[in-house]
């Protein structure tokens, strides 16, 4: 049976007294959305701003195939920049501890600023964090397929890079706090156990900041639930959430191995 047909059109201006008031507050609407969401020529800073202030818009852009091609290199650039900054700061802190207390721990591979091993930590963390993402990417894609999400490998890569870039920004954000703590340990006499704890904290900072990246990744990827057929969306969405968490756990296990392996290898190459 065909449903009823509207007999009277909905007269907004007659029935809703707010219609007139609304016109006072709202400027004439513009149908031109080219400057709202189109990001083809947006600079790198625009991506950083969206990561910080408007992740919803970034998620919408990342679902557009044309924008993905533009945004993926930019998200990668943000992530690389953040991790490189962290690597430089961590190297400085380690060497500052070494200069002050003449201590270099056996479990920390070489990263001395006076020889060729100065770039070991930067390279190990920068390459390791992103390479681990690449290693885990196919599993992320298959987890999405398992949950019934209709997506492409490109979309999955874009979301993973978005999470990584968000984590890198969070890492840069908490670096000053860590530097203040580390400098206090350098300026004031500190027990060796506490110094080692600061070093351990510094090397684990990317994983602490990565929690924020995982949250951003979760927010973006859970939006793909609307591609799941409506009949089973409710049940599959719960499964999708758990798979995203599982993937984050997998990435967290792979990354330290990747970083440590690369660091050891670079230390061997540079004679550390």
């Amino acid at each position: 049976m065909i449903d009823e047909i509207l007999t009277e059109p909905f007269k907004l201006s007659e029935s809703i007294p707010l219609a007139g008031l609304a016109d006072q507050y709202l400027s004439p609407p513009s149908c031109d959305t080219t400057n709202n969401d189109a990001m083809i020529d947006a600079p790198l800073v625009g991506v950083v701003e969206m990561l910080l202030k408007d992740r919803g818009r970034l998620d919408r852009l990342l679902r557009d195939k044309n924008e993905q091609r533009t945004l993926i290199p930019r998200l990668l650039a943000v992530a690389l920049s953040g991790f490189a900054i962290y690597g430089v700061v961590a190297t400085l802190v380690l060497n500052a501890f070494w200069s002050t207390y003449h201590v270099w721990w056996d479990w920390v591979p070489a990263a001395h600023w006076r020889d060729l091993s100065a770039g070991n930590l930067v390279l190990a963390y920068t390459i390791g964090l992103i390479a681990a993402n690449g290693v885990c990417l196919p599993s992320f894609y298959f987890y999405g397929l398992l949950a019934g999400v209709r997506t492409t490998m490109l979309s999955v890569a874009a979301q993973a890079l978005k999470g990584m870039a968000a984590g890198a920004l969070a890492l840069v954000g908490i670096l000053p706090i860590y530097m203040a703590l580390a400098l206090s340990a350098i300026v004031f006499p500190t027990p060796p156990a506490l110094i080692e704890a600061w070093v351990l904290l510094g090397l684990a900072l990317p994983f602490l900041a990565g929690v924020w990246g995982a949250v951003c990744l979760y927010e973006g990827f859970i939006g793909f639930a609307d591609t799941i057929p409506a009949a089973c969306r409710q049940s599959r969405q719960c499964f999708l959430r758990r798979l995203i968490v599982a993937w984050c756990g997998c990435y967290t296990l792979v990354t330290p191995l990747m970083i440590y392996t690369l660091w050891i290898h670079f230390a061997g190459m540079t004679g550390g």
Partner: protein, 273 residues
């Protein structure tokens, strides 16, 4: 195979991907190309999906690239713009509700586009039909015989079905436009609530109502999809009268059955006066 050999093969593959990315790179500066070459060599697993995906459509305006430019697309774009403006103007006022409703608001945008796509599909069917949308019953054939009678009945039934499809299309269009008007109304109420000093709870209700509109669209679509062909003419609707209050407790009637579930939600959640 040791780590050195693995790295050598990895970089070799990376070099190939980097060359492919450089060949595909359009409108890139030298710095961007250099960045692309270095990162594609080192992180080629992230670039391989880019290479293997379909090439992007030529860049153009968003309206040209994404959706057909008709009145529905323009109306939806307008509502999206206004909704974005309203939600961004809240500026942390009701951040928790915006976070919790983020998924439904995103779903609402998708549902509006899907609803418009359904209407366009019906338009295409009606345009392709040889019988006009306002089809009149087929004139009686001068030929006699059982076959002619059956053919006449089938053609009459087909005309009726096309007429019903046109009616469904008209209703869908009205539903969509009414939903868009409803969202615009709520958006205007958000602006009013913000500037008249209404409590944050009012803005929260309005944001939740906007997000709940997605259920109304889904209910309308479900109602259309489960429609059974009627044997007789379409029956007129008895309009339901639902009252709704604005943030300043102004009462006004909502003469519409366009979106039952939204109206039902509003009437069940309207604040006590």
């Amino acid at each position: 195979m040791r780590l050195q050999e693995t790295i050598a093969f990895y970089l070799l593959l990376g070099a190939g991907v980097a060359v492919a990315m450089l060949l595909n790179a359009e409108r890139s500066t030298i710095v961007e190309r250099l960045f692309l070459a270095i990162t594609a060599s080192l992180f080629w697993p992230l670039y391989v999906p880019l290479l293997l995906s379909r090439p992007a459509a030529p860049a153009g305006s968003l309206a040209e690239r994404s959706e057909p430019s008709d009145d529905m697309a323009a109306a939806i774009a307008q509502v999206n713009t206004e909704l974005d403006a309203a939600l961004s103007s809240l500026d942390g006022w009701v951040e928790n509700v915006l976070e919790s409703e983020r998924g439904r608001l995103s779903e609402l945008r998708t549902a509006l586009v899907a609803h418009a796509a359904r209407i366009r599909a019906m338009d295409a069917l009606l345009a392709g039909s040889s019988v006009p949308a306002s089809a009149r019953p087929v004139a009686a054939s001068v030929a006699v015989g059982e076959t002619c009678d059956r053919r006449r009945q089938s053609e009459a039934a087909r005309s009726q079905n096309v007429a019903r499809l046109a009616a469904v299309r008209a209703k869908s269009h009205d539903d969509l436009m009414a939903t868009l008007a409803w969202i615009r109304e709520l958006v205007s109420m958000i602006h009013l609530a913000k500037f008249t000093g209404a409590p944050a709870s009012r803005a929260e209700e309005l944001v939740a109502q906007i997000a709940a509109a997605v259920e109304g669209i889904s209910a309308v679509a479900a109602g259309e999809s489960t429609s059974q062909p009627a044997d007789g003419p379409v029956e007129e609707n008895n309009s339901r009268h639902v009252e709704m209050t604005t943030p300043d407790q102004t009462h006004f009637p909502l003469h519409s059955d366009k979106n039952r579930s939204v109206a039902t939600w509003v009437s069940s959640n309207a604040p006590a006066t």
